[in-house]
Subunit: 208 residues, 8 copies
């Protein structure tokens, strides 16, 4: 028998955004800042676009780690927001786990800062409880590529699937015809090369 | 007992070329363009050379994604050509799956743009249906190495074998004596270093 | 005697944006797209902010090179816009040179795509006519770092000064007190790390 | 059932520091020296901080391999110190294994020089005896990234978990509230970016 | 007075292709082979296209250095061809210098293998005799980037201008209107990204 | 129960050197030539040093692939030498397999050029027949890192262990005391940094 | 006549440390943080060691740029400290220039954050006033290597000499015999490889 | 008038090998050790081959810097050997300068460790005294590429020519016919790719 394709499904998925805080972001050096910022916002925008239940959490946000970046907060004004009083692994925080379970979703899309801690720890905890875990690798950042590689290996060995925001969007959308304009707008906003393709296309077909 | 060597066999294999479209190719940045173009055409040439059933498919080719690159189309004028009306995963398109199954082959050699979507999605679908999947990694391109690494990990974990066009050609050919000149011509066309070896060799042995 | 510091002065400077066209941008591979897009828009925003005379020009915009990216056009609705009918070196176009000279400025801040052609050619032409040339290297892109390095060497040897958008903004502004909020807004918009510093700072000083 | 999260626990873990010797360190070229030195000392400091049983061992320290670096020795004056008379794999030395087993711990945190030998060999031996092995990848060094990648693959395939010192510290600490100042001091000492965050934070909140 | 723009002019320029031999090419490792081969052929094609006098020369072609690559020879069947009997610096060969001077051109466009010898030596000799030297950096190859950088510095300090094949073509052509189709064909053949732009453009404007 | 440590043992191991031919070596570009040459000779020297049965084989050595490099041939004058008449996978050659089986060894240490073909194919074949396969990654070379990574993934997934020559030597030797001078001579010859350590050590202890 | 060697002389030199502030340091991404921090402190320690007049200055230290890092401040408690109220170019601040001129030194050793602004601007200003400028490149940091390269080119073209902290220390010290232990202590503290050499040396010569 | 080609001439040149000591070599990290060792020995071999006066010098060789590497010493048993008692710049040592001047040569070929100190200082001193200085960049090593780039810029700006060992050998030899076998032997020994070309060539022409 073939290996089951555990595929993202927009009715089964929730998004967990872990510790994208203004201070912690200065630690991220495995992805260039303009690109990383774009990746994080692209993931947030797709969560919004697909209307996925989204949970925000922060670690010690009153200290040097700093506040959640305001762009994220503004996008999800009504999302559960768990400011953890100390737990490093978000899954060790009861409110967070409750919020996750309250979504009723089995597929968890996780991204955060830093990868080997804020992403890997809840990912491993969720896998243990039999959730399907999809790590959005390019919306997760850490100190350097060596650290990232080690974190990926640990999560992959435990059964997490390594995704990117673009792959996540495509797997959720399934078919362009579900909403051509919506998906195109998402891509245009976050992929300069795609925006350019659309610009040229629209210009040339304008009179048609 | 040892692990079975699931080996490419030219009587059992078909080639799926997914979304090598003029617009989408501008997104490929994990492989330098001269090299990537060469790799794609080398894969196409070997498919032709080994006479493998080959299936072409495109995504939304009337929009910004652009048309299939004409070099590929010209090489396979009679191949099944599925212009998907919207499905992102080619395997979600019935015509495509029918065309694949119509080949009667169990080994699927897949390449496409972009790796984590157009290659990974049908690869995972095919694995689920118990096909043997061989991903031609160097004829598949995407945004950056990070994205590529994540996509490879997902496909490898599901049982896909990661190949290159050169490894694919060698595994299919088995023995130089099956056709020395044919294989040498393929390598000479697509590997400048090999062409140079042949030039020097031919010059020195010309009078012999 | 020491070497004269030929310093940007907001009363003496004009900005030339050369061939940032939707098609040509797909050729830029020495700078990652998210970053390059940000650099170009940062340069445009600073030109606006410092109220510098700005000239837009394009090469063959009705062909494959594609239209000027709309974000740039929108920012400078009243700027001279020279759609060159064929001249590769913008300085070979009389209207362009007239527009430059009409600004009455001696310091030319140039950026464009691709660096060794669309930037280097007018830069060398302007130097010959005794303008002071400041190349905004990070808002100019080309095929690969090797090409960039060769282009920089040629321009530097001819007397051009190699700048970046950030250095350009700082040299023009001279003193934060001229407008703290304006400059901070520019940096916050285009430097994610700086925006994070401001976020943390503002949060901590909010109650003060 | 989900995959068990085999998680570091400060009551179950011991640290093995293998062959961080003054001569051997000149072989380490996959991590830049300032960074590698910092990583090794950070691991040592965290072992101390969490009061984990720690074992030091060296290979042929009277020859060209050189003495254990004094900073490590000074930190663990009372730790078991096994100067191996010749065994390359520390696990082949009875005293070493005795010392490990005397800790009564099941989780072994291992780092050393060079990765594919001094770390991988005892890691594989320990896994065979059913210990849980956590390799601190960034406090382990070797000739080049290719060598490192091969060593990681071998250890990961055998069941070792790939960690970094930061991930190790966070997984052991569990909750900032267990000791905010202690953990912050560790991070401040070994992560310049974090120290800077604390500096800014402390300055701005000084008067509060 | 501004610095004179010493600009390529198709009536004043000759092309010198030095030692692109099948054996020597195996030494080139600062540029990837597919790309390097493309760059060399692009330079040859542009020499042909602009009808520039072109001189071929080889070093010791009967030995391990191997024959001139046949693609180059085929393109210039009637060009002066100097198989040097031993001189390493082509300029030390009287026939070569005679052939150069016979062109009556003052601007010499030089490329070859390896950069620091076969290109730099004749470049420095020609500069001494007051020729204008334009080095086509990307059609010249050598052992590694360090070697290349040193060679570039030596040539640039002596007054050579560092070009690429694309910059050379653009500076020679001056104006697209001189021959739109010819230049476009050259770019389409040697720049995959540009070919894709043309494919999309032609498809979308086909019916217009 | 822990995972068995399948450890190299000098009484159980044979070495297979596959297609290190003068022509094919020009294709190797994932490892710098001085380093690669050193790695291959280090593996050969260790095979000799540990007196391991060693088998040499070549592919089409009378053609452009070229002869086995003479340094290898000279080191193993009496080793089985299988010049394959055409089989690309050495394991498809009966004489080769016979020679392997005639060694009576179960552990096969394999290196060759190029990695994804000449190494991977016999490695996968041998694994299928239940041999233990140890790939010497740094004495195996191929076109680029992407190709190498794909080949490693395929072999690792099939159960091969990824080694380097240094790890191989250390795992075989077990204990310095078995022959301090012999192992030190091997390292001194092939690791410049280690030779320097020995030079300094010997100088300082000379009078002792 | 040969070119004069403009050589650092400890009686003629002063050190300017510009804007090494806790916030601004998060922008430095062209040098890894552990290394950069070490380089900055090494420069500070050598300034102290050679007893060079040292001037500290900051930009807007009460805002997001953050305070001078305390390690620097602690090292130079009595140094002139100019907290600039707004001038971006330190040389635009009269107090700063006065402090520089008060040292009576003609050789200025400059380092700072970020290179193209905080270092380049005062460097160019000082060159104009005929000071000799020595830029400590590795104690100066900025956004990325492209930015650094552009800044270096601009400063070098204006006559600045590009140094590193190690070269600066060696050029100032002239002869080990001036103080063997002092210089060795400086190197041991800031160069792990050198510290290891000393450790091995001291161990082996301990009994002599 | 053209710029004079200051060309190496074997009757006018001397070689200075500065501080290639066993300890200091552990600091060299801008060139991989196998390659660097090869480059240094290639330079030494060419000095021998062209019979150039060669001068050896060391810094503090009884301390941690360690002895001159024995391979170099063995090659030049009768060369002037200046063990400097403390001067960091070899040119500050009278015996060294006397030895240089005693050669009566005006062209100085310099290499050493580390580049920005042991090479740059005597290079700048020699330029001041109107010697022609040729820096063998690839036989000179230092901490990292940033340090190397700064050192190159300083030396180049002062008039030094940046060479490599291969360029040096070719410029000195002038014509293969002066001694085909000698030069070929030098290249074969130090360039694996060239050795392979010769192996294939010799095999194919053996019977001719």
């Amino acid at each position: 028998m073939g290996k089951q394709y555990n595929r993202l499904n927009k009715d089964d998925a929730a998004v967990l955004l872990v510790d994208h805080q203004a201070g912690l972001l200065s630690l991220v050096r495995d992805i260039e800042p303009d690109k990383f910022n774009n990746n994080v916002m692209a993931l947030a925008d797709l969560a919004k676009y697909f209307n996925l239940p989204t949970i925000l959490t922060t670690s010690f946000e009153d200290g040097p780690n700093g506040p959640l970046i305001p762009e994220l907060k503004a996008l999800f004004p009504d999302a559960p927001y768990i400011a953890r009083p100390g737990q490093i692994n978000a899954w060790d925080n009861e409110d967070f786990v409750k919020a996750v379970k309250a979504t009723g979703k089995k597929q968890l899309i996780i991204a955060g800062v830093v990868t080997e801690v804020c992403v890997a720890f809840p990912a491993l905890s969720a896998l243990e409880e039999d959730f399907d875990v999809f790590v959005v690798t390019d919306a997760s950042g850490t100190f350097d590529p060596l650290t990232r590689d080690a974190a990926w290996d640990r999560m992959s060995a435990a059964g997490a699937q390594l995704m990117t925001w673009f792959g996540t969007a495509c797997e959720l959308h399934r078919d362009w015809r579900n909403d051509v304009e919506g998906l195109a707008a998402l891509f245009s906003k976050h992929i300069p090369d795609y925006r350019n393709l659309m610009t040229s296309y629209n210009t040339l077909t304008a009179g048609k």
